[in-house]
């Protein structure tokens, strides 16, 4: 029997983007754009990805890194304020093991010539399968991918 445990942890990442809050927000709201920076990383195989961006809507995907086990993301949107705020809850599952459940808040603030993005994740890391340091590192990579996305011509 699995030894059950929960580690609760919160982290915040701030990033500045040289694009308007509208432009950065669009990279979260548009399914094609979101898939590009969020799902299609180098070495990742996307088996399934869907996004229904509305309050109560579902986003989900199944991904594999190389020949690794299926990694599943299930996300539900709790609150959306266009160009300003997104709150969602998401669960991550690797193979048969749920590794975490998190509340993720993304704030988009106008700053000088662009946008200050503030990402706060309040996580519950389950049964020793994952930890906050790994999650924070993964999120930083994604926010770097987002930089490329908002720099695209639209």
């Amino acid at each position: 029997m699995t030894q059950r445990s929960v580690t609760h942890s919160t982290f915040t990442i701030e990033r500045h983007y040289e694009a308007s809050p509208q432009r950065v927000f669009r990279a979260f709201a548009d399914p094609k754009a979101k898939r590009r920076w969020f799902a299609e990383g180098e070495g990742w195989k996307v088996e399934r990805y869907e996004l229904d961006f509305k309050i109560g809507g579902y986003e989900g995907g199944t991904f594999r890194f190389g020949d690794g086990p299926p990694i599943r993301n299930d996300t539900w949107y709790q609150d959306i304020v266009p160009d300003q705020r997104i709150i969602c809850a998401y669960a991550m599952t690797i193979g048969e093991n749920r590794i975490s459940v998190s509340l993720a808040t993304t704030e988009f603030k106008p700053a000088d010539t662009g946008t200050l993005l503030v990402y706060t994740e309040q996580g519950a890391f389950l049964d020793g399968h994952d930890n906050v340091a790994q999650r924070e590192a993964g999120m930083k990579e994604l926010l770097t991918m987002l930089e490329k996305e908002v720099g695209r011509d639209s």
């Binding site: 929960v6 919160t10 299930d74 709790q78 669960a91 459940v101 509340l103 706060t120 519950a124």
Partner: protein, 165 residues
């Protein structure tokens, strides 16, 4: 629709306050009985709600991963509160993780991640409730969420005590 509703959509200054609290209690009930009192709609209706003159308007509980729980009520004077939860992790007799939103008078005030851990404590059950909350747009919780949850866990304890047969 109240005036509060309109305000939340036109406000310029969006803000969020993050908060975490933990409440631990030990109950004189087996793991199986304590867990069942959280997941069985009939049992949960006996303890999960506001005390006093509060009037229940809507209640539903679909206990499975992805399933929704709703509890809407009205306080004397007409103030309404709505709790909407979605279950995200369930380990029978051991753990429940859910996300829930609160609306006051139709205005969204918070999203929270709630973790309920059940562990053996002698012949009883130790319950650890952890809430990680995001309060939005200047809603001043000022500790009332934790006080309300403490009250609910007292009602839960009373239910366990009174339902022994």
């Amino acid at each position: 629709v109240t005036a509060d509703c309109g305000r939340s959509h036109t406000a310029v200054g969006r803000s969020i306050a993050f908060a975490t609290f933990v409440i631990e209690r030990t109950y004189d009930a087996t793991l199986a009985r304590a867990f069942k009192a959280w997941i069985d709609p009939v049992a949960k209706a006996r303890w999960f709600g506001a005390p006093g003159e509060w009037k229940q308007i809507e209640r539903s509980l679909d206990f499975r991963i992805g399933g929704i729980e709703r509890l809407v009520g009205e306080f004397p004077g007409g103030r309404t509160s709505a709790f909407t939860a979605r279950y995200l992790d369930i380990v029978p007799d051991q753990r429940i993780v859910y996300v829930y939103d609160m609306h006051l008078n139709g205005t969204f005030i918070s999203s929270s991640l709630a973790t309920v851990e059940f562990t053996l404590a002698g012949k009883g059950t130790h319950l650890r409730f952890t809430e990680q909350a995001a309060f939005v747009d200047g809603y001043d919780d000022n500790g009332s969420r934790e006080r309300g949850t403490t009250l609910l866990l007292e009602q839960f304890g009373r239910y366990l005590r009174d339902s022994i047969h």
